[in-house]
Amino acid sequence: MNALERHRKLTTIWASEKGFKGWFSTVNHTDLGRMFLVTAFFFFIIGGLLAMLIRVQLATPHSAFAGPEIYNQIFTMHGTIMMFLFAIPTFEGLAIYLLPKILGTRDLAFPRLTAYGYWCYAFGGSMMLIAMVFGIAPNGGWFMYPPLSSAIYSPGINTDFWLIGITFVEISAVAAAVEITVSILKYRAPGMSLDKMPIFAWYALITALMILTGFPPLILGSVLLEVERAFGFPFFQADLGGDSLLWQHLFWLFGHPEVYIIFLPAAGVISTILPVMCRTTLLGYGWIVAAALALAFLSFGLWVHHMFTTGIPHMGLAFFSAASTLVAVPTGVQIFAWIGTMWKGRPELRLPMLHLLGFFFTFVIGGLTGVMVAVVPFDWQAHDTAFITAHLHYVLFGGFVFPIFAGIYYWLPHVTGRRRFFRLGELAFALVFIGFHVTFLAMHWVGLLGQRRRIPTYAPEDGWTAINLISSVGSFVLAIGIGMILIDVILHVLTASRGRRNPWGAGTLEWAMPTPPLAYNFASLPHITSRDPLVDQPDLAVQLARGEGYLGTPRNTWRETLTVDIASGKPDMHVIYPSNTRLPILMSAVTGVFFVSLLLKFYWTVPVAVIGVTILVWRWVWGLGRGADLAPLPIGHGITLPNAGMTARSPGWWGSIFLLTANATFFGSLLFGFAFLWTVAPGWPPPVWFDPSMTELGAGLSGAIIGPIAMRLAKSVNSKGRSSITGATMSLFGAILVAVASAAMMWRTPSPVDHAYGATLFVLGGYGLFHAVLAMLMTSFLIARIVRGFTSAVRRAEFSIIGLWVDYTSVIGVLILLAAHLPGVLQ
């Protein structure tokens, strides 16, 4: 087979449907990455326009441009859009587009999940836009503090749009994070051990792990607040045993890591581009990986610095102040490693490099003001003033937008296969840079003069008029600059001057393919021996196109790839991907029905949507099975690999591990909330305690023991080639017991609208019930598989996956039942 025949054959296997119809059924990471990025930039423009409206309003004193009702919506939506609908999806889009290419494989781990995530993002984002168009957008500020955001003080639907819309979008973040984590750990080119991984992959991995552990507290907070608003469960009402500070803890437990979730991918872009711009290699690769890890961890110990003025005891503040200063150290390591990289090489002032310099200048200032506000006495003055707004933009614009602009200019030739023709970019950079600093230096200043954030008007006597006007003029220069970048990019896409391959002379694998990239990325997969494969083998692209790598011969109509051992990069499984399908968009639409029903309080459509999602998920996973065993398959170079469905640690198992990590963080946050209310909230102890029942407790606990044991039994019987149906059925029985005990707990809990104690127990019981029902569905699924002959001693992957979920259900089931019954038993 010659290169052209191979290309034709692979294209028929991998191509998405032609035309715009293909958008709805594509599961290809290149398509979806581009869709993510374009949508995210659409939201960036919207968010930017809102920022302009803010600056118009603040340009003059006593401004009558927008009344406070509208203004509050404008700044809330600006913050919300920028954080949730622009920054995070931009990371997801970039990672989805780039990772398989840079790691030398053909797609991400779960292509249909990528599509599902995209559609959840698109639908959730549209919900927010609709709210804005109708003038009923959220208006409580992007951190939505109750009681202001509770039903009493915000009775309208505005806040519900935020809580529900953002949770919907969050699903896509968690989906993408699971996807990215598994892809980086398992879906790499053979030979790519951890130390040969491109640095961007490290950053993306760390970011994804942070999303998995950082987002659940916010999802929990949103769920609780929405339940409070809709059904009157008083989680955040001080007079009924709740505490509004619980929201602040949950929000910032998410909100601070969020800042690093935004910065780290940008740092990954910098670490990738900077050495190329300096014709050298990255200085201190291992140090940078360690610094990024340290940053990720430390950032989970800082959240209280957003709550320095809430009256937390002095020593508590001191802990968080100390941790907040410490986090500057790993940031410093990265900054200086980058400057060292520049000293080591020969920096060239190309366009991406300009934006990187913009990053250095801006981000260092933002970091320094950040260290200042970490000092408690200073923060007591600066908190909630324009100084904080200015600081956060130095960090976010400097630490994210500039690097992303650099990335856009760097990878645009890869996306389009073209050369830049018009030279608008340099001028645009100058305008953005100057405009940004004028806008936000002025805001630092006016903040120190006492201007609060989030005020719609001020008086001429305040003496802030001139500074605000300067700031607003600056912001218009900035907007013009961003507009020019947009035009530059559009012109680039439209002009027809084809570029050459690898225009920057980079060493990473994404340039070892024709541009624009093909649906299958690589005609055959490379073997990696160094961190910069293209430096060692400049003609790698040609070799791969000639089919000299792994999996060079297309088989059947399979979309094939392989996975590797995490640490060593030795190939260990053969994978067949699903092909184009509309299932993801359909499923996210039904998920949307669920969320919209909650929003509009159409409670009778909620169960319909839940059943719909269940049926679709069932179909989704059912399609993965095989009716017969598959022998190990040759992948070239004399290696044969077992198919993933014939292993105990299949991609599905890995995905479940990380989804459960996020889930466990959610549950942990819920337990934290319970303990927090119990020990800290005013209004405790509750008027009545839960009445313990030995029967219920005993039934639930025995179910929790039976489930996992029976599952293990089923697994071992199956591996001996005998029928595992008894074990699976027993496991189902165990799950039913847990479900009954949890339901009883919900039923008998002290009235959840009277005190936060009953409310929390109700939610805990609900969590238990949900998982028990999930375990019931999964074990039923397994039974159906066994009956239909989809399992065998070899086809065993599903036993391990379902076993994980059964185990998890048992652990949380036991904890939940004990939390409810034990206090009463002990008394």
Partner: protein
């Protein structure tokens, strides 16, 4: 603090600029020692340790420690108005104006009747929030008699921009008169 920050920023910018001067390539090992360990690790740790110590010490000093001549007042935020009470004159309540003696420490007990607010008199102290179900105590002290402008510094919906109050610091004589209910 500002000067220190300026110096560090200057240093980073100079190092960036110097990167553009033509040089021969130097190996990785020595570079790691200088850039990563020296400038990346050691330098920030020293600076930050000093800053942290400074911040913690100042923080200790701002604590409302017990003292004999402390005056106690209460401040309750409520959408669009602050009402103030005085421990020394139990049934006295003022609206949007807080009276305090000058040159004496004053402990303000901050509470709220509805949503979260924040009590902030920029020239007298930092801000402290009014949280439902809790009472937070802020120590303020006006060195001289006079009028000080105070604002609510936690977003509280429409009307937030105009949500402010005044603090009047009296000299000893006036303060006694206030306690005797002569001043309204």
């Amino acid at each position: 603090m500002l000067a220190g920050a300026g110096l560090i920023f200057g240093l980073v910018m100079v190092l960036l600029l110097l990167a553009f001067r033509p040089r021969a390539d130097t190996g990785d090992a020595g570079n790691v020692r200088v850039w990563v360990i020296g400038l990346g690790l050691a330098f920030p740790m020293v600076v930050l340790a000093a800053l942290l110590a400074y911040g913690l010490v100042i923080g200790e000093r701002l604590l409302p420690l017990a003292s004999d001549d402390v005056v106690r007042v209460g401040a309750q935020g409520q959408l669009s108005t602050w009402s103030f009470t005085y421990a020394d004159v139990p049934n006295r309540r003022t609206q949007d104006v807080l009276h305090i003696p000058a040159a004496r420490p004053v402990d303000v007990s901050i509470t709220t009747a509805d949503v979260i607010h924040s009590f902030w008199v920029p020239r007298l102290a930092g801000k402290l929030d009014a949280i439902p179900g809790r009472t937070n105590i802020l120590r303020i002290e006006a060195d001289f008699p006079g009028t000080y402008h105070g604002v609510s510094a936690e977003f509280s919906g429409t009307g937030y921009d105009h949500f402010s109050f005044t603090v009047i610091a009296h000299d000893a004589e006036d303060w006694d008169a206030f306690l005797d209910e002569d001043i309204e």
